[in-house]
């Protein structure tokens, strides 16, 4: 049964069917994409980056660099021990501190502190840093990532919550200028 303009009833229904599926597809795609992007969008929620206590100042003697650990502010029950993050705390002179991310600024491996030679060394690709976090040698392009810190009620607090990476050191980690 042909209509004016040569469009048959069957053709019309086919087009309506395809159109309806297209609409439903878009309606479903929006929440699916939103769901998939949740790790990115969740970033703006409060509590994502928080001030976290690393412990009393007495744990970090003046002139020394010590390992400290904290529980990531955003953690799920299934995270287990992966939400426990380590960092290096340097008490420069009893008043000034430096808190370095554990991750090498090259590719994120855990750097180790050697008080004997006053160097941080990375076990992966041989990066080395001086005690103030600046680059000493090896493949890293910059110094260690450094957390913002403050002292409150005799405790050392840092602003943390995200793993620093070389491309995006994250807005809570200051870049240290490499001293030559």
């Amino acid at each position: 049964m042909s209509l004016t303009g040569g469009v048959t009833r069957r053709d019309l229904f086919l087009k309506v069917g395809i159109f309806l599926n297209g609409i439903v597809g878009v309606i479903l795609a929006v929440p699916i994409v939103r769901y998939l992007l949740s790790p990115v969008s969740r970033e703006r929620k409060p509590g994502y980056e928080s001030w976290i206590a690393l412990g009393g100042l007495e744990q970090f003697p003046s002139g020394e660099t010590r390992l400290a650990t904290y529980r990531n502010p955003v953690a799920d029950p299934s995270d287990g021990e992966t939400a426990d993050i380590a960092c290096w705390v340097r008490n420069v002179n009893g008043q000034t501190f430096q808190v370095f991310a554990i991750n090498c600024a090259h590719l994120g491996c855990p750097v180790r502190w050697f008080p004997q030679s006053n160097l941080f060394m990375c076990p992966c690709h041989g990066g080395a840093y001086y005690q103030d976090g600046s680059r000493a040698s090896g493949p890293p392009e910059r110094g260690l990532f450094e957390y913002e810190y403050r002292i409150e009620g005799g405790k050392l607090l840092i602003r943390a919550g995200e793993m620093p990476t070389p491309g995006q050191a994250s807005n809570l980690v200051r870049e240290i200028r490499t001293c030559v």
Binding site: V74, E81, C109, Q116, M121, P123, C124, A128, T165, P166
Partner: protein, 498 residues
């Protein structure tokens, strides 16, 4: 007799309904050029059979494995130690993975050298490139599911590489990790990738790949002088299979069957003899006494990342893979015609040799990691006695500084110690006293400066020790101008005394 009859009857009953027997028979008995019934043509089918083994063993592991960051490592321990033969199934899956990559690479080299990517099999090659990529994707995601220290820090390396993508880096890292840090969400999404997404892609690509092999026919044995031309190739190929063809079943398939059985047996022997891979230490990021290392087939990349100069690293990491993959995808379009035989394609052969030597060299270097300081050499590797014999008190004090300040972690003496910096067995021949002092205090050439960490007395002692490091009978390097200056002073002094 009655049994065979009734099986036949059941078969007929089934085929009257599914109607597949004729299609299957036609497919398996399709004619192939006689020379392709060769031991060189068994790698594709072997890769497929290993893939089937991976599916079966993967499902078996999923019965026990818990894809949760807090539980995964423990469930691997249970598989290894508490479930009967759980260790063997893990071994089969892990060794199956290594064999699969190896066979896929061999298959690729064979196909490349036999010119099989040329017209009309361009798309078969392109799908094959995608199959290589998803196979590597399976290997990387599988390494993550073995949720141990290597997996944790390997993810950190992956995230650090991804973060270098301009503008999108931060976004990609969050998407890859499923959150701000490597944690439960990270493992869950890699589980979904490894178990659902990538295998789905693999099955789809394998289906298209095999379909095209059947539709277009297996590549004929390349003969020097038998040149591919788009105008005539298909006709020539059909004439060849008609004139000198044999049915794939049973004339060619027996070699595939025997080789696949041999490969499966090899995987089983490796699994039984060497056992499963890991897991290494638990994925606890507060345990930092670890030297993370990727699985065998990613070791070459680990070495490359150590050797790239800092300024080249980001461009090389981001542009290198794109150029490599584009090159592979464009290959059949740029060289779609012409000679197929490797005997007439010296550049193709040289390319394979170059790539193989490069990958082999980098892999070997990554096994030894000469770029990494040996973290405990300063306390674990003593200075060999011959470097201390007959030395003065000051020089021995310098040897002590050498150990205590961890010079030994990067510099070797008598083959002991790190290889990060040059061996110092004969350093006094290369550097004068002044140069030694300068190098120690200011560093440079990839060595940290020790000026702030050494007292003047320690530096003096250390350099005194380093000056003794020269072969017997070969005098240490000295600054000629300094000797002249000292001599001049010595010459002047008597004059002033007079």
């Amino acid at each position: 007799m009655r049994l065979t009859k009734s099986i036949g009857a059941i078969g007929e009953w089934l085929d009257a309904r599914v109607q597949l027997a004729a299609t299957i028979r036609e497919t398996v008995e399709h004619p192939v050029p006689r020379e392709t019934a060769s031991w060189f043509y068994v790698f594709g089918s072997a890769a497929f059979v290993v893939f089937l083994l991976q599916i079966v063993t993967g499902i078996l592991l999923a019965l026990i494995y818990v894809p949760s960051a807090g539980e995964a490592w423990n469930s691997l321990q249970i598989l290894n130690h508490q479930i009967a033969l759980g260790w063997f199934i893990r071994g089969l899956h892990g060794w199956g993975s290594n064999f699969m990559i190896a066979i896929v690479l061999i298959h690729m080299v064979q196909v490349f050298l036999f010119g099989a990517y040329k017209y009309p099999r361009e798309l078969t090659w392109i799908v094959g490139v995608f199959l290589l990529l998803v196979t590597l994707g399976m290997a990387f995601s599988g390494q993550v599911l073995r949720f141990d220290q290597d997996a944790y820090w390997g993810l950190g390396i992956g995230a650090s590489i991804a973060s270098r993508v301009p503008l999108m880096g931060h976004f990609i890292v969050n998407l890859m990790l499923g959150g701000p840090i490597i944690a439960g969400a990270t493992l869950s999404r890699f589980f979904a990738l490894h178990v659902f997404v990538i295998p789905g892609l693999l099955i789809a690509f394998v289906g298209v790949h095999i379909l095209m092999v059947l539709k277009l026919g297996i590549n004929e044995w390349p003969m020097p002088g038998r040149v591919v031309r788009k105008a005539t190739y298909i006709k020539e190929y059909h004439e060849l299979t008609k004139k000198d063809g044999v049915p794939f079943f049973p004339s060619a398939i027996w070699k595939d069957l025997i080789f696949s059985a041999f490969i499966l047996l090899s995987i089983a022997v490796c699994a039984a003899y060497f056992g499963p891979f890991g897991p290494s230490g638990p994925p606890d990021p507060t345990i930092i006494q670890t030297a993370p290392r990727p699985d065998f087939f990613f070791l070459w990349l680990y070495a490359v990342l150590s050797f790239l100069p800092p300024s080249m690293e980001t461009p090389a990491l981001l542009i290198g893979p794109v150029v490599g993959i584009l090159g592979l995808l464009l290959l059949p379009f740029v060289f779609g015609e012409g000679e197929k035989s490797w005997k007439r394609r010296p550049i193709a052969v040289l390319t394979i040799l170059l790539v193989a030597v490069a990958l082999g060299t980098f892999t070997r270097l990554a096994v030894h990691t000469p770029w990494s300081p040996i973290m405990d050499a300063w306390s674990g590797d003593p200075i060999p006695a011959e470097f201390l014999h007959g030395r003065s008190a000051l020089e021995r004090q310098g040897a002590l500084v050498f150990q205590v300040k961890q010079c030994h972690n990067c510099h070797s003496l008598g083959e002991q110690g790190g290889k990060r910096g040059p061996a110092l067995d004969a350093v006094a021949v290369r550097l004068t006293q002044d140069q030694l002092i300068r190098q120690v205090i200011q560093g440079g050439g990839n060595m940290p400066a020790y000026g702030k960490n050494l007292s003047p007395a320690e530096t003096t002692a250390l350099v005194a020790f380093l000056e003794t490091l020269h072969p017997a009978g070969q005098s240490p390097a000295r600054d000629a101008s300094r000797a002249v200056a000292l001599g001049a002073v010595a010459g002047v002094e008597p004059a002033t005394n007079q």
